[in-house]
Assembly symmetry: C2
Homo-oligomer: 216 residues x 2
């Protein structure tokens, strides 16, 4: 069994890996040792051939009638996704969405450690966002120094649109390498920083497009 070369894994496969991992962990927790591509396909509503192709990146080919070893796949995918170590995460913007993200169960489960939360509003600074002693919203003035000192890897930003560009630039300069942007506009990614856009109204627009097509 060989380790996977990440450069072999196409970017469109990555979201599926996340999906497989969640289901496979669930199976492992229930003590399931093996799973066929067919059964897995049914569980997650995907095509079995697609699953076999995706797993072949791990050099895992399954055995007809026996299937894939669940714990092996869990380990391989975990490693491939870089989830075998902890990432330090900050949230910039402690409004409703930021607070919802801070409590989102899915994140901490996956080894994402929320180390800090920042806001510019005096009415929010100092508010508790978690159970830790240190889990209080800080002023954005502290953002740059904090990110450098705590070696922050990832930032989620939920600031108003007008502040997004500047926030991303500061985060980049402070060594943050990946940003999940929830602000409703596309921002320029500084050199060496990966910015992913979660555009909620664009998701709704996609639904609208299909609904409208249906009704034509």
């Amino acid at each position: 069994m060989r380790g996977v070369d990440k450069n072999d894994v196409p970017s469109v496969t990555v979201p599926r890996l996340a999906l497989y991992l969640r289901k496979l962990r669930e199976l492992r927790a229930r003590g399931v040792e093996r799973v066929s591509s067919k059964d897995l396909a049914e569980m997650i509503d995907l095509n079995a051939a697609q699953i076999r192709k995706d797993f072949s990146y791990f050099g895992e080919f399954g055995t007809r009638g026996v299937g894939y070893e669940v714990p092996v796949l869990v380990d391989e995918i975990t490693r491939c996704l870089g989830l075998d170590h902890t990432w330090n995460v900050v949230i910039v913007g402690a409004g409703l969405l930021g607070t919802a993200l801070a409590r989102y169960r899915g994140f901490t489960e996956q080894g994402f450690r929320l180390v800090g939360m920042f806001d510019s509003s005096a009415s929010v600074i100092g508010a508790r966002f978690g159970t830790g002693e240190d889990s209080r919203v800080r002023s954005v003035h502290e953002l740059d120094e904090f990110c450098r000192r705590e070696r922050v890897d990832i930032a989620m930003i939920t600031v108003p649109a007008g502040e997004a560009e500047n926030t991303v630039r500061r985060l980049g300069a402070a060594g943050v390498k990946a940003i999940l942007n929830f602000a409703p506009l596309k921002v320029h990614a500084p050199e060496g920083v990966l910015v992913r856009q979660v555009d909620l109204s664009s998701e709704l627009m996609s639904l609208s497009f299909y609904l409208d097509k249906e009704q034509e």
Copy 2:
């Protein structure tokens, strides 16, 4: 100028249309009449050739040195995305994320009308989620009848993972045609219902994948 045939527009183009629309509306609001694909490309960090190709679905070819007419494009894209009429939207799950979505500025701007919000928890039912007289969280028991009566088009669900499947089934049976699922698992789409998954932890996993690749 011809109307666009939506079947010509590939699904990968739709999120870009949403992006163009936002920027073009901004330009229109500033009184800008024309824009070149090159300038637009710089504004939204996309390739100019890609933009020209996307706009060709509208039969819009722009004029070299003069560019595209901004108000025309705004109208065409608005119509293509089905945003020239209002969609009735409900949110199921009035936790932090649901409440954040209810206040998300981007939605109402685009003609998505939040008509109801539902939760199963007595501590939340009756709470205000908007400014309207009727803007109070209802019990999920009312969900099915409400969706039929109010002709709800789109639902956003932020319920716990264990309730997602059942919620989607009920919404489908009550005539809801499109669902944006924020629950952290993939659900089966009932016949004739479009379900889109917004998987926040999968977004973070993608970041993790790329960060890890960088550091190898």
